[in-house]
Amino acid sequence: GAGLHSHFYVNFLLSLCPFLEQQESRPLLSPSIDDFLSETRGDAPPTLSRPLTSNTAVLSTTLDLVDLSEPSDTSGRSHKDHRWSPTKRSPSEDTGLNHMEAGHVDSGDQVSQQSSLIRFCLTPLDSDQMSCRTSCSLTQQNLQTQRHSGPGVLTLECRSLSWCIVGLFLILCCVLFQSDTVFWDKMQAEWEELVRRKWLDSDCEDQQPVQTMVSPAERGYLFSPNNPYRDQPNAFLEGQERGRQGDLTAAVLLLEAAIFQDPQDYEAWQLLGSTQAENENERAAIVSLQRCLELRPDHLPALLALAVSCTNCGLQQEACDALWRWISHNPRYNTCYHGDHTCEASQENLDCVDPDLQTGLGVLFNLSADFNKAVSAFTTALSVRPQDYLLWNRLGATLANGNRSEEAVEAYTRALELQPGFIRSRYNLGISCINLGAHREAVSNFLTALNQQRRSQRCSQQQMSSNIWAALRVAVSLMDRPDLVQAANAGDLDLLMLVLDRGDI
């Protein structure tokens, strides 16, 4: 809880500087100046001044969510559900009651990507509690900060995704450091420094409108044809069990069967998503998890898993969005106020480590490429759940992405000891072997994984992960063996296994 080191988090902010100076990999189209002018017609002129009165902001339990998703995201969530406009946001509406109005942006006909301005306004209610209010408006404003009257009021305006990540992180901090006003003043100062630096350094790169990576949500879920378990009774439970045993291919088929029998079963969708991720099939994972969230928008495991999967795909905005939703739906963190009373429970919970929160932090730090801090987060989570092989894999992936490949190998090995059928971890292990120049070991790992996927159901190539094949091709090509390259291109697993067994690799 408040005993954690605020220093740590301040330093985190500073370390984000290089990240913030990069443009995000998917720069967003700003609305044209005309749109901006029409949006703010009712408002004060362009310097988005919306002074907050301190001590009046409260949080509702049903937080309106910042929809950071791109309008083209066809997850089924209607973009209209989360629209924000500056015009409704006026201080007079803050009556201190149980109401957080985020307002709506009249984004008009903007069907393509927008540049989101996210404002996180953090106001102390009194010396002990902090509430957080967020608002989002689509404008073309540059970064600004405003210091409002009263100590400890922190206003952060984030123009772009990178800043959203920081802002999101600060919300998490707010939750953890509610009573530390010194901390908040420091944060404000750090933020302003960052903005100043960024302002000086920022120059508009050639911001081309970006083509989204093929959003997996554009296609529906592709069920396996000829599913032998289609009519299996208790398919969900059976699928769950097989997953535990490490037979991921069978688990996937059983869960698909369960969904086929009851398409509204959101838990089955979520478990299918998580299992597909473990099986190194990210796109299927994302589609499944999004389907779960259509049915049950506040399902926390799905939100956290979606954040992870989106991070893996480089869908930074979607990942942020999922994390944000996870926090705001999480009863431990979306503090609620009823008049003068506060929820005592949330204060208490802050004293023990929440491995899920740590996972969220770890994902966030991965998004911002702050790998060392992500490692700390996952390590902390593991201290509470040392048998969690998913966490071991996450730790390993973070280490590897942060160029600590030897340590990554140790983490993956641990994960695989706990769950030998964990395809994703074996894939990651292979990647780290490539990084370390151990090409033969890499190939061996990939072949093992592919074999495990194929063996379970004796089914077609479809069950094997294309990612693993792609990585296998890379590993083989680095060995300068054109004969194996050919076999890899052709998908000839048997030949490759033969060559490996013979020791010819």
């Binding site: 409108p209 970006v210 083509q211 990576m213 992936a397 990647i431 990084n435 990585a471 890899a488 291109n489």
Partner: protein, 391 residues
């Protein structure tokens, strides 16, 4: 007397620092010493007789490079975009119908420019990596009866080399001018302006020519000149007004050249030398070399398990290769890694190809097998080091 409100910048007190790096992106390319040194020669007046000599050298060099006898041949002061605007602003009047072929970013830009000066613009679109058939082009010409048809020969954003044969003839059948952008292709792939009935052709100095960016060769056929000099309205740009430019470059039959604008004299020197280098090697040799090197490069890529974005071999632009961004990697990490570790620039996608491809340019002096080996080694290193692990 009031004191200065703005002080001498501290930044300018630092010495000028320019790193050396290998430019294997889509442009600009590296400049060989001979061309760089030419640009460092003393500045003379932009209307001095010696400069006119150099400009005449340039004209004849461009005529050779373009394979044309057009009198109105010159180099616009500016880069490829300047030439694009020069072509469009002169040949198009408000209300004219214009069609641009869009198979990448350049058609989009041409359409934008034509719109700005009040043309009625229609586009015909091919998917990234593809090109249009003559039948499709004829269809759109018949439908819209444009005064001008734009096509990018070297579509560098997608790596496509667009076939040209027969299109000029089609345009003329429909009484339309044929405008071709060869910024990324001239010198690297065959092109015959007169033979292929191209009315307006332009390129940039900073690609195969290996000169610094700053001048843009352009040429206008008689047919184009007729329309341009018969305009009812003045071109919207004084700077790019062809009547003035043609006079400055001595392409008209006026007795003397009149001051229009100050030509970028040292850029003329480097352009002149780059054309001399091209003439020395010979066009056909240069085309062949670029083709051979590109094929060598493509084979090397495929051996690494990488895939080429343009499926059809004959449609692959030899000067800019587009590689499908490999699975499991963030393309930005690959390009950053290669820049940091190997001091080599390669690029990601542009316009419709953003996020989909890596782009490697092998142009002029950078088009050689040894350079290809360098790039392949760098890519291999990146593949080894940049693969993303999955949380």
């Amino acid at each position: 007397m009031a004191s200065l409100a703005v002080l001498p910048p501290e930044r300018l007190k630092k010495p000028l620092a320019v790193p050396s790096r290998l430019l294997f992106g889509p442009g600009p390319s590296n400049c060989p010493p001979r061309i760089l040194e030419a640009g460092a020669k003393p500045v003379i007046g932009h209307m001095h007789p010696e400069i006119f000599e150099i400009m005449d050298d340039i004209k004849s060099g461009i005529q050779y490079m373009f394979q044309t006898n057009n009198a109105v041949t010159l180099a616009v002061s500016g880069t490829g975009h300047t030439a694009m605007e020069c072509a469009i602003f002169n040949s198009v009047e408000p209300g004219d119908s214009v069609v641009t072929a869009v198979n990448g970013i350049w058609g989009e830009r041409a359409a934008d420019m034509a719109e700005r000066i009040g043309a009625k613009v229609n586009t015909i679109v091919a998917a990234p990596g593809r090109f249009l058939s003559n039948a499709e082009i004829e269809q759109v010409l018949a439908k819209h009866r444009p005064a001008l048809f734009f096509l990018a020969h070297g579509e560098s954003s997608t790596g496509v080399l667009h076939p040209l044969d027969g299109i000029g003839q089609l345009c003329h059948k429909y009484d339309c001018l044929f405008l071709v952008d060869s910024v990324a292709s001239i010198g690297g792939a065959p092109l015959f302006m007169d033979q292929q009935e191209i009315d307006i052709l332009y390129t940039g100095s900073q690609k195969v020519l290996n000169a610094p960016p700053g001048t843009a060769p352009i040429s206008f056929s008689e047919r184009a000149c007729k329309k341009i000099f018969d305009r009812k309205t003045k071109p919207v740009s004084f700077f790019l007004d062809l009547k003035w430019l043609a006079n400055y470059w001595g392409c008209d039959d006026k007795p003397s050249r009149v001051y229009h604008h100050t030509g970028p004299v040292t850029a003329f020197y480097s352009l002149r030398e780059s054309l001399a280098v091209l003439a020395e090697e010979g066009l056909e040799k240069s085309w062949e070399r670029h083709q051979d090197v590109a094929e060598y490069f493509h084979a090397g890529l495929e051996n690494m398990g990488l895939k080429l974005f343009v499926k059809e071999k004959k449609a692959r632009l030899p000067t800019v290769t587009t590689v499908v961004a490999p699975q499991g990697y963030d393309w930005k990490e690959i390009t950053s890694f290669i820049m940091k570790t190997h001091n080599i620039e390669i690029s990601g996608g542009l316009g419709p190809s953003v996020g989909l491809v890596l782009r490697v340019g092998l142009m002029g002096c950078n088009s050689s097998k040894s350079k290809v080996d360098m790039v392949l080694a760098a890519l291999k290193d990146a593949l080894r080091n940049c693969h993303e692990n999955k949380l």
